[in-house]
């Protein structure tokens, strides 16, 4: 069976790869594309560790075929930091110990980023509902939720300062 040739955009860069018809996007990211920041937890869309965005919509890359990426714009955890400079969400996760084993972390960050792009000032409840599809078996979630709220506050402050 011939492989499928896919042309897409990942973290703003044009990318091409070959995939099998039943490869998932997560298979392609972690395999030929070498973007191993997205993790495989459950492979059934329950845990959110493989979260990416496709045309700004948050999805589980394990529930998408690699062939489906043709012509779309994807963002993964690798596109989050600006070179050596961490994204405020990443910085707050570190400062507030919002991770332990780290398996869920890239999915948590990608999902939190997707939330803050839609809603820069979410309530705690909104953060908890939004992150309900990201499972963490270490932290008990409190530190993650606090880190997201603090990062959101800092980003709003930065936006205000930039506007002045």
């Amino acid at each position: 069976m011939a492989k499928i040739h896919v042309t897409t955009t990942i973290n703003g860069e044009p990318m091409e790869y070959l995939c099998e018809p039943d490869d998932t996007m997560l298979d392609a990211l972690r395999g030929p594309l070498g973007l191993t920041g997205s993790k495989e937890g459950c492979a059934s869309g329950d845990c959110g560790a493989c979260s990416i965005t496709v045309d700004d919509r948050l999805v589980c890359s394990c529930l998408m075929l690699a062939a489906e990426a043709e012509g779309h714009e994807l963002r993964t955890i690798e596109g989050m930091a600006d070179g050596e400079r961490l994204h405020p969400l990443q910085q707050k996760f570190l400062e507030q110990a919002a991770l332990q084993c780290g398996i869920c972390t890239s999915g948590m960050l990608v999902a939190s980023d997707a939330l803050l792009r839609k809603n820069p000032d979410p309530s705690e409840e909104e953060v908890r509902f939004w992150l309900a599809g990201n499972l963490c078996r270490c932290t008990g979630y409190d530190k993650i939720v606090r880190a997201v709220l603090d990062a959101a506050a800092e980003m709003r402050e930065a936006t205000r300062e930039a506007a002045q």
């Binding site: 069976m1 039943d22 059934s44 979260s51 948050l58 999805v59 529930l63 999902a111 599809g133």
Partner: protein, 289 residues
């Protein structure tokens, strides 16, 4: 490596040709949140996967000239949530669609997939039934329309003919004073499968109910239109007697199973409770309060 083929046709005619030619080995891919799990776990071994999301009609959400909505079968729940008008006109349908899975799942999962997956507990189905949605299906013999409640045939089965594809839902225009709502009972607070799901759509004129439809899910092999419940509300001021009569109609319609999420007795009782609660929310929305 199984010999699966992936096709992403640009037109409905191409999709129907490919789907019909592949016969029972073909599967339609909309959001994939059910299909890809079934493929990975070996429940389904498709020879051909037909991705319908490159066909614009399949993902479009459009207001029709008469004030109704046409929703492409593969439009995601998140796309419906982001639509500027849909949630204002059909808040109950939107809340049902947005109870399906996590935000990640909503980024892909569609009402069309929810219907065609054939789960008796699919959340969007009772709300679509209450809304009076009509679906368009197209196959090798052309297009036809069906009432949404006629689509499910039983757990995992639909009444679509071989080679037919669900194309879109049409929701009718709204009379002034109309509102809809969907509630489900689950053992946890989020991200679970309905023990009972219930949708109500109704219209009030001077406090009197002039139209009402009730869709009931997770208590029978398919989601149901409970005509007697709607009839009990019509003509009333949604007083306690009318609501109890409608609740009794819902309880009578239940043919549930016992499972780890709920017993038969619990599901039957809950169906009546949900009728009253859901009707109250729909009425509140209808009166704009």
């Amino acid at each position: 490596m199984a010999d699966i083929r992936y096709l992403a046709p640009r037109t409905l005619d191409e999709a129907i040709g490919a789907f019909a030619a592949a016969g029972s080995a073909a599967r339609i891919l909309a959001g994939g949140t059910d299909l890809l799990v079934q493929v990975r776990s070996g429940i389904v071994k498709p020879g051909v996967i037909v991705d319908i999301k490159k066909i614009s009609e399949m993902t479009e959400i459009a207001e029709t000239a008469d004030g109704g909505f046409r929703i492409g079968a593969a439009a995601s729940g998140m796309a419906l949530a982001e639509h500027p008008r849909f949630g204002k006109v059909w808040p109950g349908v939107l809340e049902a669609v947005n109870l399906i899975g996590s935000k990640q799942v909503q980024g892909r999962a569609s009402a069309g997939g929810n219907l065609c997956n054939g789960s008796p507990a699919g959340d969007s189905v009772p709300a679509m039934i209450a809304a009076g949605a009509i679906v368009t299906v197209q196959g090798p013999d052309g297009r036809r329309e069906m009432k949404v409640e006629e689509v499910p045939a039983g757990p995992g089965r639909t009444n679509l003919k071989p080679g037919e594809i669900l194309v879109s839902f049409v929701l009718p225009p709204r009379a002034p004073g109309s509102g809809d709502a969907y509630l489900r009972m689950i053992p946890r607070t989020e991200m679970d499968i309905a023990v009972v799901g219930l949708g109500v759509s109704l219209t009030l004129e001077n406090g009197v109910c002039t139209a009402a439809r009730v869709g009931l899910g997770a208590v029978a092999p398919t989601a149901l239109l409970v005509e007697a419940a709607g009839a009990a509300l019509i003509g009333s001021k949604l007083d306690d007697a009318a609501l109890e009569k409608a609740a009794e109609a819902c309880r009578s319609a239940c043919r549930p199973i016992d499972d780890k999420r709920g017993t038969i007795a619990y599901r039957v009782k809950t169906a009546g409770v949900l009728l009253k609660r859901t009707a109250a929310i729909a009425a509140q929305r209808a009166t704009g309060k």
